[in-house]
């Protein structure tokens, strides 16, 4: 187990370097990083040359990348466009987005798996058909449309929630945004669980469990569900990274000042350090989540051993 983790951690290094280098290059293509520093005016040549020298932008890209990564590993993510430290921005933004992601994941687990189990056990019945249709509708409407409509209906027309989230962004305020963020994945979790349950229902071990007289509840939870959850856990695990990255849209709709908001501002103002810094952390989250999923396999399926 320990050796497996170490090997996986080593394998993460090239992927981490590659992804951050890719995003570094993309941001460099994005435009002149000092253009935003002189306000709305164009910097004059002398100032811009001096600024370039000050920030090390006159060096080749690979050297800039190395310098940047060197700083990152000492905990220095640079400064944002307004002179604030990027790490300070992260300290305010990440807790909000993490709360939003937790709400979304909870929705996926609780509602998605429940609906999946119900439909998987009643395949072909009216419940199954209607839930399946609903998932298709949710998948085909873009998230931002779902978000705008829910915001209009719940927030403006019926007044159940506040249409925009305050800067505190408490769990209570994030319920509807979390549902919006989760919506598409929720539909996938439902469908994936349904397929998996329906497939395993016919398996020998379920028949054995029923034959030896176990109560239905126990057969479903301990035997059927545990075996059917493996693909679902994979999906949810990889979804953590996707949700945090995809929160840009949801955060924009509900005016949540999280990671997506800061990234959007960073991109608008062409602030390289904000964008690369946040993306670096997001990539790390994605990689770690994937590793955890692989380790969870062993818990769900004891046949898997990590040598």
């Amino acid at each position: 187990m320990g050796r497996y983790v170490v090997r996986r951690l080593l394998q993460m290094i090239p992927v981490f370097i590659g992804s951050t280098l890719l995003i570094f290059l993309m941001v460099n293509v994005m435009g002149d990083p000092i253009a935003g520093l002189c306000g709305d005016k164009q910097c004059d040549a002398a100032t811009s040359a001096q600024l370039k020298k000050e920030f090390g932008l006159d060096k080749p890209v690979w050297q800039q990348y190395l310098t940047y990564m060197g700083h990152v590993f000492t905990g220095d993510f640079g400064t944002a466009f307004n002179g604030q430290k990027v790490t300070e921005l992260m300290a305010t933004a990440f807790p909000v987005t993490i709360r939003l992601t937790i709400v979304a994941i909870l929705f996926e687990i609780v509602i998605g798996i429940t609906l999946g189990v119900i439909t998987g056990l009643r395949r072909g019945r009216p419940v199954d058909t209607s839930v399946l249709l609903l998932t298709l509708v949710v998948i085909s409407v873009p998230t931002f449309v779902t978000g705008l409509l829910l915001q209009l209906l719940l927030g403006v027309e019926w007044g159940w929630i506040k249409p925009s989230v305050s800067t505190d962004a408490t769990f209570g305020e994030l319920i509807v945004p979390g549902l919006v963020l989760a919506s598409v994945s929720l539909a996938y979790v439902t469908r994936l669980t349904r397929t998996s349950i329906a497939e395993n229902r016919r398996s020998d071990y379920v028949r054995t469990a029923v034959a030896k007289g176990l109560p239905r509840q126990r057969v479903i939870v301990r035997h059927l569900l545990r075996n059917s959850l493996i693909p679902v856990v994979t999906f949810i695990g990889t979804d953590i990274g996707a949700l945090m990255g995809g929160a840009i849209v949801t955060e924009r709709i509900f005016n949540i000042h999280g990671v997506g908001y800061q990234l959007y501002q960073g991109i608008l103002r062409q602030n390289t350090q904000t964008v690369v810094g946040f993306v670096t952390v997001l990539v790390l989250v994605f990689l770690v989540a994937n590793l955890l999923v692989d380790l969870l396999y062993a818990v769900l399926d004891p046949r898997i051993r990590y040598a």
């Binding site: 497996y4 090239p14 992927v15 981490f16 590659g18 992804s19 890719l22 995003i23 993309m26 941001v27 293509v29 994005m30 435009g31 298709l136 998948i139 085909s140 409407v141 873009p142 998230t143 931002f144 449309v145 705008l148 209009l152 403006v156 598409v184 994945s185 539909a187 996938y188 469908r191 994936l192 693909p231 994979t234 999906f235 990889t238 979804d239 990274g241 996707a242 945090m244 990255g245 995809g246 840009i248 849209v249 924009r252 990234l263 959007y264 991109i267 608008l268 964008v275 993306v279 997001l282 990539v283 994605f286 990689l287 994937n290 999923v293 396999y297 898997i304 051993r305 990590y306 040598a307």
Partner: protein, 323 residues
């Protein structure tokens, strides 16, 4: 105990939204290979003719196929059902509701929503089809070759796809497309191909690896068939099914992604007429004039739904496990 084999594609995260992730994990159950082909008449049938026989009887396939056919026709000849000009607007009529001759009402600039919705189909279908073609060709070529030859290039490609998967798509779009000033569809399509190919390449690779272990491939190799002959005649026809399924479903998600990028202000730009542009323009007026948002959004949802259902139907028909 051997190390657990990651189900190929199951770790496909952050791809083009969730739709493809699921498509991947479901599509990998497709066995790339011919079934034994003993039909009821005892006459051998190929996987494809078998699948086609199933599809013709599947109402989901027929309905989604008809919707897609209709979309293709109106993207080629929008004037068939909309006589107006999508760029001809009358500010005096801004935000007005349904009127005779203008069933969907007017948008914030006073343009006819019906005409714009009809003309928007062309852009969305173009983006979807071109991005999917690009992704499918590039992805299956790279993934297929890597799977067939193995070795160094294969490991390199696998690491490369890992790298691309770690980057959230919407974020990549924001960064790359924020500098684009062109109002054509090509930058958006190019971006989708750039970030989308690893998805298909992973599927194609797995599928080619399965297919190349088949006895008939070994036999053909023993008879002296060249690599290109093996790939083109024996492996490709038996490995292409999962790629087709995932690509069909991906087409829907690309259309949806275009709308999302346009909403974030980095997708297509006016004067291009597209559902994404119209929806994001309408989002500012959603309280007073929700009809402006509902019509293009409805058209978009139906289109995406049609492609997802078509992909589902094709997968069911091609999956021998369900027979």
């Amino acid at each position: 105990m051997p190390e657990p084999q990651q189900p190929e594609g199951a770790i496909a995260g952050t791809g083009m939204g969730g739709a493809m992730d699921l498509a991947v994990s479901e599509a990998t159950t497709l066995e790339a290979g011919r079934p034994d082909g003993s039909g009821p008449a005892g006459k051998p049938r190929s996987l494809w003719s078998d699948a086609w026989r199933d599809l013709r009887r599947n109402p989901v396939f027929i309905i989604s196929g008809l919707v897609i056919l209709f979309l293709v026709v109106i993207s080629l000849w929008p004037s068939l059902i909309a006589s107006g000009n999508p760029l001809k607007c009358d500010l005096a009529k801004a935000q007005e509701g349904s009127q005779p001759g203008h069933p969907f009402g007017f948008d914030g600039q006073g343009c006819d929503v019906y005409t714009r919705t009809v003309y928007g189909a062309r852009t969305s279908v173009t983006v979807g089809v071109c991005a999917t073609l690009g992704v499918a060709l590039l992805g299956s070529a790279l993934g297929g070759l890597a799977g067939f030859f193995g070795g160094f290039w294969d490991s390199l490609l696998s690491r490369l796809t890992d790298i691309f998967f770690a980057i959230p798509v919407v974020l990549g779009g924001l960064v790359l497309l924020s500098v684009v000033t062109s109002s054509t569809v090509w930058p958006v399509i190019g971006f989708m191909v750039l970030l989308g190919w690893p998805q298909i390449s992973r599927i194609a690779r797995g599928s080619v690896i399965t297919a190349k272990q088949n006895d008939y491939v070994q036999a053909a190799r023993a008879l002296g068939a060249s690599n290109s002959r093996l790939l083109l005649r024996h492996i490709t026809p038996n490995a292409v099914a999962p790629v087709i399924v995932v690509a069909t479903i991906a087409l829907g998600t690309y259309i949806s992604l275009e709308a999302t990028l346009s909403y974030l202000g980095v997708g297509l730009k006016p004067p291009t007429v597209s559902w994404g542009i119209d929806i994001s323009a309408a989002s500012a007026y959603i309280r007073n004039a929700p009809h402006m948002l509902l019509w293009p959004a409805g058209a978009l949802a139906i289109t995406v739904l049609a492609f997802i259902m078509l992909g589902d139907a094709v997968r069911d028909a091609l999956d021998p496990k369900l027979r």
